[in-house]
């Protein structure tokens, strides 16, 4: 019997590299429903996971002996706004504009938060520097479970991802210099206006310095590559005025002939107020956690019931936990809140799987339950995103990060 041959025991790879490398990445998993993410729902499907990848998916099977069983399975969730990093040490505040730096040196894979993230069903995370700079540096995509080595956990994206912020956060902590500056917080910007000015100056300076070494500065080439569309730019902007500033920046760069920024807006709580800004540029948004009472950071108001309207207009959206650590703000719950806010099941599933995978440029690797994709799977106790359903099991690249048995 083929199914018998495919039991976990017979598939378990022979450990060749020593005791530490024996983590099992081959499994047989059976679910009553598999929500593939391609629009299909497979009933009584048996998924064979081999060496961290999905090897086969066969509907209409019964669970063979030894198989892991679940009510429902979806692809692993992808959170584009995770904050497991060294806090203030994740961003170099000596200058506002640091496009040549990365959050990477501040990543702590030993942080217990990774285990909590993985257990909550997030299998891939985009980690950004803390938003205290105007342009903080590069973000890094990581699997949430696996060895505590960056090389093993990092997921390479087709394009590097640059991160910045608009709003009050990048200027918070700065103060104007009266007399002699005492430290590097005695500087611009101290207001939203200053932040906006820094963004435009950075791009203008980068373009104007092009080809002239004497006028170049650290990060100028990264900014020019952003304008060439070779880098994805994620800007945090909570409030309408800040979202508008981000869009104006993109439009101004295009109008001046500087280039075309591929822009994603993170924490776009007030995106619902002026959806035209997003649709006319096909801008993707990442929503912060749905707040009780609607009020979020930067004075922005997230109206739950307008979310469905945005989705209906074709705005590509992703849900996120935005670094929240409390249970009610986990990404798993955000899905349930999005359903409550009126998103369809498919829109909700897409917002935590295929949409973020597309933002990262990793649609052929992540986001769906298909043969050949990474075995990033979430096992649910019932229908996903139902208020009474919960995540009971998680596989990250075939590694059982949360055992449902």
């Amino acid at each position: 019997m083929l199914s018998l041959l495919l039991t976990a025991a017979t598939l378990a790879p022979i450990p060749a590299l020593g005791a530490e490398d024996t983590t099992q990445t081959s499994w047989n998993i059976h679910a009553e429903r598999v929500y593939t993410g391609t629009g299909e729902v497979l009933k009584n499907a048996l998924i064979a996971v081999e060496d961290g990848k999905i090897a086969s998916i066969r509907p209409g099977r019964s669970a063979p002996e030894g198989a892991i069983q679940a009510k429902a399975i979806t692809a692993g969730m992808i959170d584009l706004s995770v904050r497991v990093h060294g806090g203030f040490r994740s961003v170099e505040q000596a200058r506002e504009i640091q496009p040549h730096l990365s959050v990477e040196p501040a990543i702590d894979l030993y942080d217990p938060a990774w285990k909590r993230l993985a257990a909550s069903g997030i299998t891939t995370a985009l980690l950004s520097p803390m938003d205290r700079n105007v342009i903080g540096g590069h973000a890094v995509v990581l699997k949430t479970a696996g060895p505590e080595e960056l090389a093993a956990r990092k997921v390479t994206t087709p394009r590097p991802i640059l991160r910045g912020a608009i709003g009050s956060e990048p200027s918070s902590g700065n103060h104007p210099a009266f007399g002699t500056p005492t430290d590097f917080y005695s500087r611009r910007p101290t207001t939203r206006m200053g932040v906006e000015w820094e963004w435009r100056k950075a791009f203008f300076d980068a373009v104007n310095a092009g080809g002239d070494e004497s006028r170049d500065f650290p990060g100028a080439e990264e900014l020019r590559s952003c304008l060439r569309g070779e880098r994805l730019l994620i800007i945090q902007a909570w409030a309408t005025q800040d979202i508008r500033t981000a869009i104006y920046l993109k439009e101004e760069m295009a109008r001046e002939g500087f280039g075309n920024l591929d822009l994603v807006i993170d924490a776009a709580a007030e995106a619902w107020r002026e959806p035209d800004f997003l649709t006319r540029n096909k801008t993707t948004i990442i929503l912060p956690p749905f707040p009780a009472g609607g009020r979020t950071t930067d004075g922005a108001f997230l109206a739950w019931n307008r979310t469905a309207e945005l989705a209906g207009m074709g705005v590509r959206m992703c849900l996120s936990s935005h670094g929240a650590s409390n249970a009610t703000e986990k990404l798993e719950r955000q899905g349930a809140y999005a359903r409550r806010a009126g998103l369809t099941f498919d829109q909700t599933l897409a917002a935590v799987t295929t949409n973020p995978a597309a933002v990262l440029g990793l649609s052929d690797q992540l986001g769906t339950v298909e043969v050949g994709r990474d075995a990033d799977l979430v096992l649910w106790s019932g229908t996903p995103f139902e208020a009474s359903s919960r995540v009971v099991g998680v596989l990250v690249a075939g590694e059982l990060a949360r055992d449902p048995r």
Partner: protein, 370 residues
């Protein structure tokens, strides 16, 4: 026999041979430092150096022989210490102070120095304090109360959070790496010496993530030397071993984190060279041997502990060819103990540095303790 010993030592002090002359020590057990223990062996010292060691060492009749009913070993080595430095060990006005030489913070007459010598510690690495410097200076290897043994041999490099500043560049881990990569690329001063392999590093990293990054950094620049402050390095033992770096472990405070002690044992078992940090004046000098005993209690074998206190630490400090073992040609830094030096109940009754008696336990000690 102890009485005989001290009488002989008294004779030595009162017009006996001084450095430059010869003398012989005979002890019940001589801990050579390579794992062997010689019974009733003689150590012959001339001009501050050991000239012969063994059971049948011959020497002139006029060379005084000091008999010791107990153990003899090389003086102990502490891989990081702040004795006598006070607040002079760090200048945080600039992030990189690569030219700061800890030699100028060494005060041989400071009472901290005498306390180290009294405990049988004859070599210490004086380190810059953690004052939010990425590079705080060049540690200096000294013989307490006596002299500088090795200066400008290593550079302190801090990849931990304490290397960052809250209000001065660099304020982030990325900034720390940026600063260091720039300095290595320029290759000036100590950085050029490091690149050429003529200097070693005292590499500071605390958490496992910082340690992992520090090891990557060390591999990238082919650095030699040892890690300090990395209390969980043992959990990355294979990676540390592959890096070729050693680790300064401890000091292990009483009631301290057990993981820190287990880490040290894992490192030793993985074949990583270890030694002990001491950190006086925060800790008493006795903490050095207490740390070794704590590690032994957690599974470190006796010989590994002894090596970490002597020859292993000396090698990490870059002075393994001069001190740390009782061998012909080595400098005569010797300690006479009441028992096994790794046994915390043993006491140093006489301490020699460069063949000079720098400490002798008062005869009344034992009675006082009763």
């Amino acid at each position: 026999m102890l009485a005989t010993t001290t009488l002989a030592l008294a004779a030595l002090l009162c017009g006996g041979p001084s450095a430059g002359d010869s003398f012989a020590l005979r002890a019940t057990r001589v801990h050579v430092g390579d794992g062997t223990v010689l019974e009733n062996a003689i150590v012959l010292v001339k001009d501050g150096k050991i000239v012969d060691v063994g059971q049948g060492v011959a020497f002139d009749k006029d060379v005084p022989l000091i008999e010791h009913d107990g153990d003899l070993s090389a003086g102990l080595v502490a891989l990081r210490d702040y004795a006598g430095i006070g607040a002079e060990g760090a200048d945080s006005t600039r992030a990189v102070m690569d030219a700061a030489d800890l030699r100028y913070a060494f005060d041989s007459d400071h009472p901290d120095m005498a306390r180290l010598a009294e405990s049988g510690i004859t070599t210490v690495v004086l380190a810059p304090g953690s004052g939010s410097n990425v590079v705080a200076g060049m540690p200096v290897v000294v013989k307490p109360t006596v002299r500088v043994l090795r200066a400008k041999g290593s550079l302190h490099v801090d990849l931990s959070a304490s290397g960052t500043s809250f209000n001065r560049y660099p304020s982030s881990y990325a900034g720390v790496l940026e600063v260091l990569e720039e300095r290595f690329a320029a290759g000036e001063g100590a950085f050029g010496e490091l690149k050429a392999g003529r200097m070693t590093v005292m590499l500071e990293a605390e958490s496992r993530a910082e340690t992992s990054r520090a090891l990557d950094f060390a591999s990238r620049h082919k650095l030699r030397g040892y890690l300090v402050d990395s209390q969980r390095a043992g959990e990355l033992a294979a990676k540390v071993k592959a890096s070729g770096l050693g680790v300064a472990v401890g000091p292990f405070a009483i009631g301290g984190d057990r993981k820190e002690v287990e880490s040290a044992v894992s490192l030793a078992k993985a074949g990583v060279p270890i030694g002990f940090a001491l950190d006086t004046p925060t800790n008493a000098p006795a903490m050095l041997r207490l740390s070794a005993a704590t590690a032994m209690r957690a599974g470190l074998d006796r010989d590994a502990a002894f090596k970490a206190l002597t020859s292993g630490a000396a090698a990490l400090a870059g002075v393994g060819d001069k001190v740390g073992a009782v061998r012909a040609g080595m400098e005569a830094d010797l300690v006479l103990w009441t028992g096994d030096p790794v046994d915390p109940t043993s006491r140093a009754v006489a301490v020699y540095i460069d063949g000079d008696l720098v400490h002798e336990a008062p005869e009344t000690d034992e009675e006082d303790e009763d």
